[in-house]
Homo-oligomer: 336 residues x 2
C-alpha cells in the first residue's frame, strides 16, 4: 500500500512499518550491518565484537501497573542488545520533555531509570535533554541507545533459524500490551494485569553459557509474538509451526483479550523472549531459563519445519491449523 | 531556582539545564564517565578507547535555509563525537513521527540524512521508528547516537584547559540560531542567512594530526559560545579572556541580532568549534583549520588566564571588559 502520509501503522512493528524500513530506509542508508535488521547492529570494531541498539519510548500513559516509561526505556534497550547475544554495558539517555511536565514526575521517571539500570547492571554514560513548548509533545518521550559486548563464539541473528530448531518462549504473552490498553481506555479490571517490563540480559547470559549454539533470540515487543516469528521465518527462509495450547497466557489476559477483541499473538511484550535452539540443547536451555525469575513459565511452543518457507503456521487448540500473518493495521499506538 | 514544573529553560543548554543535569541526573546515574559531562562519553572497552554520544533533534521548522532536521541530526552527533577527539564510525537513528506527516517530507529528511552520513563518512547501522497519534508530537523528532574511535595519544576533555592555552574559534557565530529564529518568526530578511550545519570530524582529524596536544574541543550549539566557554572555565577551574573584536560574525547576523535584540554569544551554532590549544601549537593548528572549508574564518579569539577562575571575561570593542555569564532564560526553544 502506497500512501502519501505517514499512518500510525507505519510505526506498528507490523507489515507496513516493515515495508517502510525495507523500501525507504534500507536503500538510503545502504550497508550490510543495517540490512540484517536485527534488534541491534552487530559488528566488529578493531577486533571487538559489539552490539549497538537504539529505541525511542513514547508510551501513554507514562506510569502503568508494573512499570513506567523510564524502566521500560532502560529494559528495552538492554533487551535489544541481549537479543544480539551481547552483554549490555553502556547506555545513553535522550529525554524529550514537554514544557510544564511536573518535576515530581520527571524525578520519579529518572529514579526508576536509575534502579532499572542498576538491576540490569548497565551504566548510563551520556545523555541529552530537550524541552519543547507545551503542545509540541505529549509529556515525555525517551530515547535510549546502548552498546554491548558479544562474547567470542556467539553468533546470533534473525536469519540463522534452521530446521531442527525448537522454539522456546520465556513466559506468558501480551501482559504489557493488554495492561497499557486497559489503563488507557480506563477499564478497571479487578485483576492482576501488569506490564512484564524486565531486563533479560542475565537470563540470556546464562542461556548462552548453557548452549552457545542458540541460533536466534528475539524479544517480541511491538507487533507481538506473531510478527516476530514472521520476521524470523522470512529472514531465515524457513517455515515455523507453533501450537496454540502451548503458548503461556495469564487467565486475566485471556479474559481481557476476549472481551476487547484483541489477539494476544499481536500484543506487545516487554520482558519476554523467543529462542530458536537446536533440539539437542533445548532441554538444557529450558532448564536454565526456568531457574531465572523471568523464565519460570518458559515453554517450547513450536519448531522450525521443512515446508511453508517464510510462513508461520499455528495448530489451533481444536486441532485445525491456520497461517499467522504479520500484524497489519495498528492495534495500539504508543504501546512502548 | 527550584521549580515544580519543567520550564523551557531546563532544555536551553544554559544555567538552569546545567543544574538539572548536575543536581538531578548525576546523583541518580552516578558514575565517573557521565560526571565528566563531555559532549559524549569517553571510555575504554576491552582496551579500545571509544566515544559514545546521543542527541535528540526537535528543531522547528524542520526545513530551513542551509539544512533540515535530518542533516542536523547526523552532523550534530558526528560533531559531538569529534569533540571527544573521536573518529565517528557508526550511528543509530531513532525517528519519532507524528501521524499525518507527508511521506514526501519524510523521504526528503531521510535522503538528506543519507547524504550527510556519506559526507561525514559514517554508517547508520541501526534504527527505530515510532509513529504517534496526531497532536502527540509536532511533525518529527529525531534522535541520533553514535560511536567513535579515539586514536591513541589523544586526551581531550572539558576539564583539561590550562593557562597558556589559546582559544581558536573555527568561524562565524550565531548563523544557525539567527536563521531558525528569523524563519520561525516569518521575518524575510533580504540576506544570505543560512544555518552553518556541517560535519567537523574531518577538520578535527587534521587538527589532531597537526597537534595531538589540543586540550579541549567543544561545539558551541545550544547556549552558544558564551555558555560553552563558561562550562569549560568551570570544569577546568581556569579563567577565560576573549576579545569581542576578534569574534568572527557575518554582517547580516550582526544586523539581525541588533534588530531583534539577541546576543550572538548565546545563539546556537551547528558547524563551529572551539579549540583550546597550547600557544606553541596555535599557529600550526590555525593554518590546518583554514585549509578546511569549515575553518576558513578560524581565528584566535582569546586565551586562558591565571585569574578569574571559573569565569569568562570579554574585552569589549570599546576597550572595557565585562563578565560573560552562562545563558539564563531560554532565548529560543527548539533551536536544534
Amino acid at each position: 500500500m502506497k500512501t502519501d502520509k505517514i499512518l500510525l501503522d507505519h510505526g506498528s512493528g507490523g507489515k507496513i512499518s516493515h515495508r517502510l524500513t525495507t523500501e525507504l530506509m534500507l536503500p538510503i542508508f545502504s550497508n550490510s550491518i543495517l540490512s540484517e535488521l536485527n534488534d541491534g547492529a552487530i559488528f566488529n570494531l578493531e577486533g571487538l565484537r559489539l552490539a549497538f541498539s537504539t529505541d525511542s519510548y513514547t508510551v501513554d500513559p507514562i506510569f502503568f501497573p508494573g512499570g513506567n516509561i523510564g524502566d521500560l526505556a532502560i529494559n528495552g534497550t538492554v533487551n535489544d542488545i541481549a537479543m544480539c547475544g551481547g552483554d549490555p554495558v553502556y547506555l545513553s539517555v535522550g529525554l524529550m520533555i514537554e514544557e510544564g511536565l511536573s518535576m515530581q514526575d520527571l524525578e520519579k521517571i529518572l529514579s526508576e531509570m536509575g534502579k532499572a539500570a542498576a538491576k540490569a547492571g548497565v551504566t548510563v554514560v551520556t545523555g541529552d535533554t530537550k524541552v519543547v513548548p507545551k503542545g509540541a509533545l505529549d509529556k515525555i518521550f525517551i530515547n535510549t541507545s546502548g552498546i554491548g559486548l558479544i562474547p567470542p563464539g556467539i553468533d546470533i541473528a534473525s536469519h540463522k533459524a534452521k530446521p531442527g530448531d525448537q522454539i522456546i518462549l520465556s513466559g506468558t504473552i501480551a501482559d504489557h500490551g493488554i495492561t497499557i490498553l486497559t489503563q488507557r481506555e480506563g477499564f478497571s479490571f479487578e485483576s492482576t494485569l501488569a506490564s512484564d517490563t524486565a531486563p533479560l540480559n542475565h537470563m540470556v547470559r546464562d542461556m548462552l553459557a548453557t548452549s552457545p549454539y542458540i541460533h536466534v533470540l528475539r524479544d517480541p515487543t511491538r507487533g507481538g509474538v506473531g510478527t516476530a516469528l514472521n520476521e524470523i521465518a522470512e529472514k531465515s527462509q524457513i517455515g515455523i509451526k507453533i501450537y496454540e495450547d502451548k503458548i503461556p497466557l495469564k487467565r486475566d489476559v485471556v479474559g481481557a483479550c476476549e472481551l476487547l477483541g484483541f489477539d494476544p499473538l499481536y500484543l506487545a511484550n516487554e520482558g519476554k523472549l523467543l529462542a530458536f535452539v537446536p533440539t539437542e540443547y533445548t532441554d538444557a536451555v529450558l532448564k536454565t531459563m526456568k531457574k531465572n525469575p523471568y523464565g519460570q513459565d518458559a515453554a517450547v511452543i513450536g519448531e522450525v519445519i521443512n515446508n511453508h518457507s517464510g510462513k508461520v503456521v499455528m495448530q489451533t487448540r481444536i486441532g485445525g491449523s491456520r497461517i499467522v500473518d504479520m500484524l497489519t493495521g495498528e492495534q495500539l499506538p504508543r504501546i512502548c
